[in-house]
Symmetry: C2
Subunit: 325 residues, 2 copies
C-alpha cells in the first residue's frame, strides 16, 4: 500500500484548534506513519509553536510529489490584521472555512485519503457568510448520504438525525428515511476496518414504546424499516429500549448503536468515551474525523487544552486510511 | 430516634422479586438495624427460601407493638391455586397489587417509615384490573407532587416526565408545569439526607437549543421557569446541554440532575449506576425506593438474579428513614 496523506485543518484560529494540532503533531513520531498535511494560516501555527514551546517543523506541501512521511503545511492565508483569539470573529470564520474547504477539495481530488478537522465556530462561519452548522453539514451537501458517527474502542454510535430541535427529530422518524439511512450506513461502514459491523437500533420512546403503550413509532415506522433493511442483508436488530441499548453495545468492537436523535447518542457517548471520543463522518469517498470537542474559547492561550481527542482523531484517520479505502 | 419500620413488597410472584428479597434479607445482619416487614404471600416466600436454600425466618408482623429489629411478615394471601412463574398472569398481578396496596396503607397510617418495592408486571396489573403503569403512577394519584428519581453515589437524576411517548414529553415542556415540578422537587428533597441539593437542569434540544437555533423551548419555557424557581430560593441552574450535564453532575453527592424526559435521564443513569441504582419516589410523606430493574421473567427460578440493586434500595430506604423524616 502507498503511504496515506492525511489533511489536518487547524480550525478556528481563535479557538483551541491550533493548540491541539500543534501538541499532537509535535509528537508525530508516536503517530502512525503518514504524510500529515496541516491546512492553516502559517502565522497561526508559528505563533502556537512559539507559545507552547513545541515544534512541528512543517515543510511546504507539494501534492504533485509522491507522499513521504512527515509533517507538511498547505498555507491558507488568514486575515490581514492580527489574529484575535478567544472570541467569534468573521475573519477567523473565513479563515477556518477556507482551510476546511481547501482540504476537502484536495481530498475530493484524491490527493488526501483523510481529513481531520479541528473545531470551528459556527457563529464565526455565519458571520463570514458560510451558513453551515458545521463540517458535517457542509459535507452532507456534497454527499447527501453523509452520516455523523462517534467512535471509540468502548462505544460506536451513528446518528439518524443530529442538529435539529427534538420535536422535529421525533417527527423525522419515518420508515422510508430510516431505510435510506440504514442503507447509507451500511455502505459507509463497508470501508471501515473492524467490520462487518452489527447495528443495534434504539427505539424512540421510553421502553421502545412498550408494544404501543408509550408511542407508536416503533410499530408504525421503526420496526418495518428494520425488517426491510434486514431483508436486504443489513445486519440490524431492534428497536431496543433506549436506556439499555448502549449498555448492550458497550465494549463490542463490531457493534454500532444507532441513535434516532442527537442526545440519545451523544449522552451515552460522552459518558463512555469522554476526552478520547472521535467524531467520524461516514459515507464520504474519503475519511473524515474530528475531535469530540468545540473551540473552547474560554481556555484559549492557556496551554491547558486536552489534545487526546485530536490525537485519537488522527490515529483513527490513519487506521481507516491504511486499509486502502 | 426510634427504630424505623421498613416495608418490603415481594413484587410479582412470577418474577425475580421474591428471589432478590429473600437473597437480601437472608443477609440482614449486614443491613442497617430496622424492622423489615415483608408484604407477600407466605407460600411464595417459603418456596423461594426452599429453592435458594436461604432462610429469612420472618416472624408475623404485629404493627400494634413497638418496632424491634428483625424480619417480619405481613401475610397477603395470594391466588388459590399454584403460583405460576415466569409469565404474566392476572392472579400474580392481583397478588402483587394487594401486597403493594397493603404496604402503602400501613405507611400512610404511619406504621412504616419506608416502603421498598420489588418489581411488578404492568401487564399483570392490567389483567387484574389495576390500570397503573407502575408503583410511581399509583403513588402519584395519591400524591400528585410525586416525582420519579434515581439515586446512586455516582449520579442522582429526577425526571420531569417519564412514561409517555417522546413526542408528548416534548410538548409537555411548559413553563408552568416546570415551575410546579421544581417546587415539588425542592419539597421532596428537603427530607432527604445529604442536602441541601443543587439542581442542574438539562435542556430539551441539542446543545440546549443553541440560542434558539436548535429549538425554542429553552428560551420560551425552560429559562423563564428556572428564573422563577431561582427567585423563590430554589438552588437551580441551567438549562445545560443534555450531552454534558450528566457529566457535570456525576460524582457530586449534593447535585441532582433534572431530566426533561425518560431516556434523557435513564440513559446516563443506567450507564453510570448499572446494577446498583435505586429508584426513589420523592414527594411522599414516607420513603419509597425500589431496585432499578424489572420482573425479568426470562431468568426466574434460576437463582441468578442480581440482588445488588434491591440491597441498595433497602439500604437507601433505611438511610432516608433514619433521619427522622
Amino acid at each position: 500500500m502507498t503511504l496515506p496523506s492525511i489533511g489536518v485543518t487547524a480550525g478556528d484560529p481563535g479557538g483551541i484548534g491550533p493548540e491541539v494540532v500543534v501538541k499532537t503533531l509535535a509528537r508525530a513520531r508516536g503517530l502512525p506513519e503518514a504524510a500529515y498535511v496541516v491546512f492553516a494560516d502559517p502565522r497561526v501555527i508559528a505563533a502556537e509553536e512559539e507559545r507552547l514551546g513545541l515544534r512541528i517543523a512543517a515543510q511546504n506541501w507539494r501534492p504533485e510529489l509522491p507522499p513521504e512521511p512527515g509533517i507538511f503545511l498547505d498555507a491558507v492565508p488568514g486575515p490581514a490584521g492580527p489574529v484575535i483569539s478567544g472570541r467569534v470573529t468573521a475573519a477567523n470564520g473565513e479563515s477556518s472555512f477556507r482551510s476546511f474547504e481547501t482540504a476537502v477539495e484536495q481530498a475530493r481530488a484524491g490527493r488526501l485519503q483523510a481529513v481531520v478537522t479541528a473545531p470551528i465556530s459556527k457563529a464565526a462561519w455565519a458571520l463570514a457568510g458560510h451558513p453551515f452548522r458545521g463540517h458535517t453539514e457542509y459535507l452532507a451537501r456534497l454527499y447527501p448520504g453523509a452520516i455523523m458517527a462517534f467512535w471509540s474502542d468502548k462505544l460506536k454510535v451513528a446518528l439518524f438525525s443530529h442538529h435539529r430541535p427534538l420535536g422535529e427529530a421525533v417527527a423525522a422518524v419515518r420508515k422510508d428515511a430510516l431505510i435510506d439511512f440504514l442503507r447509507s450506513l451500511r455502505r459507509g461502514l463497508e470501508r471501515i476496518p473492524g467490520g462487518p459491523f452489527r447495528l443495534l437500533v434504539a427505539g424512540l420512546n421510553p421502553h421502545a414504546g412498550e408494544d404501543g403503550h408509550l408511542g407508536r413509532e416503533e410499530i408504525d415506522e421503526i420496526r418495518p424499516a428494520l425488517e426491510m433493511a434486514f431483508s436486504e442483508g443489513i445486519s440490524v436488530a431492534g428497536p431496543f429500549p433506549p436506556d439499555t441499548v448502549f449498555l448492550q453495545a458497550q465494549g463490542k468492537k463490531d457493534t454500532v448503536a444507532v441513535a434516532l436523535y442527537h442526545d440519545q447518542g451523544l449522552i451515552p457517548f460522552k459518558l463512555t468515551a469522554f476526552a478520547t471520543g472521535v467524531n467520524v463522518t461516514l459515507g464520504l469517498p474519503f475519511v473524515r474525523t474530528s475531535p469530540d470537542h468545540g473551540t473552547a474559547f474560554d481556555i484559549v492561550g492557556k496551554g491547558v487544552a486536552d489534545a487526546r481527542s485530536m490525537e485519537e482523531a488522527i490515529r483513527l484517520a490513519a487506521a481507516f486510511s491504511a486499509t486502502g479505502s
